[in-house]
């Protein structure tokens, strides 16, 4: 029998409907794969095997009754940032020790309503703060990809590192993820998977542990563009519990695949040709342009002059919002408590023991930039710069550009425990140089695998679109995928 975990969501969906195999068989295959691999990859922090089998059984009943949902019987992994009722939800942090919410996030509820099966909770950078998945309380995730001829363990990227690694290693058919500064797109690029951060407001943020509320957005990581389109369709919704979710119909994203690019204008931003960009990435970018041109699109040079200020503005706005959002973890209502001599001492000891180094750093930066006398110089200034960043995009879209093609990361996956990156937080922050502008402007962005570098590691390209025009991104990314092919790691685990 073929290995069922190798099927895409689209294939598995069709074959489940044809009753070629059962949802229980499919889920059992995934549980077996997780069991065999998780010791080496550390992608899951919790596996909910019993729940998964119960959900799969229910799916089989609905399939038998002809009442199948859009994702009936499809086994998914859920980033630990999403609240899942009665199931471990800790944002990969010690501060939420033992937390099992009494409610379900809107995005995961939408998936279960369509018949999807939950395999477990996926590892991530603590509170989604990181670009390597090394800040998790549960230890780093190991990238299923290794450089050719090397045994060195590589990071899967972050913060959705567990999601990306699990999808790449066939430990789930697809996964939920979130992106505040690149946390879906960068790990997707490092693992040869497809990740889309939709427009701000497309998915409800309700039930997702907040990091930086004006930037956070949920999206899927999947093995190909079609699967990402299928997942986003079910994840997106308007939600009375999140006033920033938009009341716009959710299109059938899958239907946009295969549509022509004729007449489309693809912008190439000159500011993304940063100093030190590896020639391999430069070459891949040029290849991407050629593929889109061959498909009938027109390639035009554009300028987004405030690009270089997006990263510094982000490192004011995001920590400021984080310092406020993470104030709730105080040892009173949920999670860890470390006793102290009085209430303030209890707060301080709980938060000192509960938060990791990177989270503390961002809370403190945020507290500093919001403190008396500094608000105007830092936060207000950064929000004004953000207006300018958004205006850059509006100007090029107004001039007729339909989507922007850019690199996604300044390198392929790097080693776990990279000393240079560990010693200087700012160096790690530079990982997000190509992804962060999209969050600052609230736009949709998709990361699609486009090739391998000289070491045999995956590299991706990014497409950035107009607000709520995810369909344009799917159809354009699909053209890149058709030209580049898909990429899977060699199994070593």
């Amino acid at each position: 029998m073929t290995d069922l975990t190798r099927l895409t969501i689209a294939d598995a969906r069709d074959r489940l409907k044809a009753r070629e195999f059962s949802a229980v068989e499919l889920t059992t295959s995934y549980l077996g794969a997780i069991d065999a691999a998780n010791g080496a990859l550390n992608a899951y922090v919790v596996v909910t095997a019993d729940k998964a089998l119960d959900m799969a059984k229910a799916s089989d009943e609905r399939l038998g009754a002809g009442k199948a949902g859009a994702l009936e019987g499809i086994p998914l992994g859920v980033k630990d940032l999403f609240a899942t009722e009665g199931v471990h939800t800790q944002a990969a942090s010690h501060v939420l020790d033992g937390f099992k919410p009494k409610y379900e996030s809107t995005v995961t509820q939408n998936l279960w309503n369509e018949g999807a099966v939950m395999l477990g909770k996926l590892n991530m950078d603590e509170f989604a703060m990181g670009s390597s998945n090394e800040s998790s309380y549960y230890g780093p995730v190991v990238n299923p990809w290794k450089a050719e001829g090397s045994d060195e363990k590589l990071v899967p990227g972050g913060s959705s590192g567990g999601s990306a690694a699990a999808v790449a290693a066939y430990l789930c058919a697809g996964a939920t993820a979130t992106d505040t500064g690149g946390s879906i797109r960068q790990p997707a690029a490092f693992t040869g998977t497809v990740g889309i951060k939709p427009t701000y407001g497309r998915c409800s943020r309700w039930g997702i542990a907040a990091y930086a509320s004006s930037l956070d957005q949920a999206g899927p990581i999947a093995r190909d563009v079609r699967d990402a389109a299928i997942l986003l369709k079910s994840m997106a919704s308007v939600d009375a519990k999140d006033t920033t979710s938009v009341d716009l119909p959710v299109p059938d994203y899958e239907a946009s695949l295969g549509q022509s690019l004729k007449g489309m204008k693809i912008g190439i931003p000159k500011e993304y040709r940063i100093e030190g960009l590896p020639p391999e990435i430069e070459k891949l970018w040029a290849e991407g342009m050629a593929w889109l041109k061959d498909a009938g699109a027109e390639i035009v040079d554009i300028s987004l002059p405030h690009t270089k200020y997006a990263l510094p503005a982000y490192y004011i706005v995001a920590p400021a919002e984080a310092s406020s959002n993470l104030a709730r973890y105080d040892g009173v209502r949920y999670g860890l408590r470390v006793d102290g001599k009085d209430i303030a001492d209890m707060y301080e000891k709980t938060r000192a023991a509960g938060f990791g180094e990177e989270v503390k750093r961002r809370i403190m930066v945020g507290t500093y930039v919001l403190s008396a006398g500094y608000y105007d110089a830092y936060y207000l200034k950064a929000q004004k710069v953000r207006t300018l960043i958004k205006r850059d995009f509006e100007t090029v879209f107004h001039a007729g550009v339909d989507a922007i093609l850019a690199p996604i990361t300044p390198s392929s996956a790097f080693a776990i425990g990279d000393k240079e990156l560990a010693a200087d937080p700012v160096k790690m922050y530079l990982q997000d140089v190509f992804t962060i502008t999209v969050n600052m402007a609230g736009l949709p962005g998709i990361s699609v695998p486009a090739g391998l570098d000289g070491k045999g590691l995956p590299l991706g390209l990014q497409l950035i679109g107009k607000p709520f025009e995810e369909e344009t991104l799917f159809k354009t990314a699909h053209v890149i995928e058709q030209a580049a092919g898909t990429f899977s790691p060699k199994k070593w685990w």
Binding site: K100, T199, D247, Y315, A352, M364, T367, L380, K384
Partner: protein, 95 residues
């Protein structure tokens, strides 16, 4: 702008995070690195630019002023480290 050790300790206090002297020292280096990095924003002319308040031009939806949730005290305290009769318990705050 850079921060000294006393400022780091004051910010840690405001953040309600206990830090040892050694941690404060290390944090000072990292914080100054980050603050030095964001200093680049001083090059940008923002005269007459409105600060962003919302990335999408949405009007906040209003709903009827009615009770839509509640009556779940047990659920609310279920994850608390210390409770008594649906109250959260904390160390004594009033002598």
């Amino acid at each position: 702008m850079s921060v000294d050790l006393a400022t780091v300790k004051r910010v840690a206090r405001l953040s309600r995070i206990a830090v040892t002297d050694e941690e404060a020292e290390r944090m000072m280096g990292h914080l100054n690195g980050i603050l030095g990095f964001v200093e680049q924003l001083s090059e940008v002319d923002v005269t007459g630019v409105e600060p962003m308040t919302s990335v999408t031009p949405i009007t906040m939806r209003l709903r009827a002023d009615a009770v839509t949730d509640g009556d779940k005290a047990d659920d609310i305290v279920a994850n608390a480290p210390s409770t008594d009769q649906n109250f959260f318990l904390v160390p004594k705050v009033v002598e």
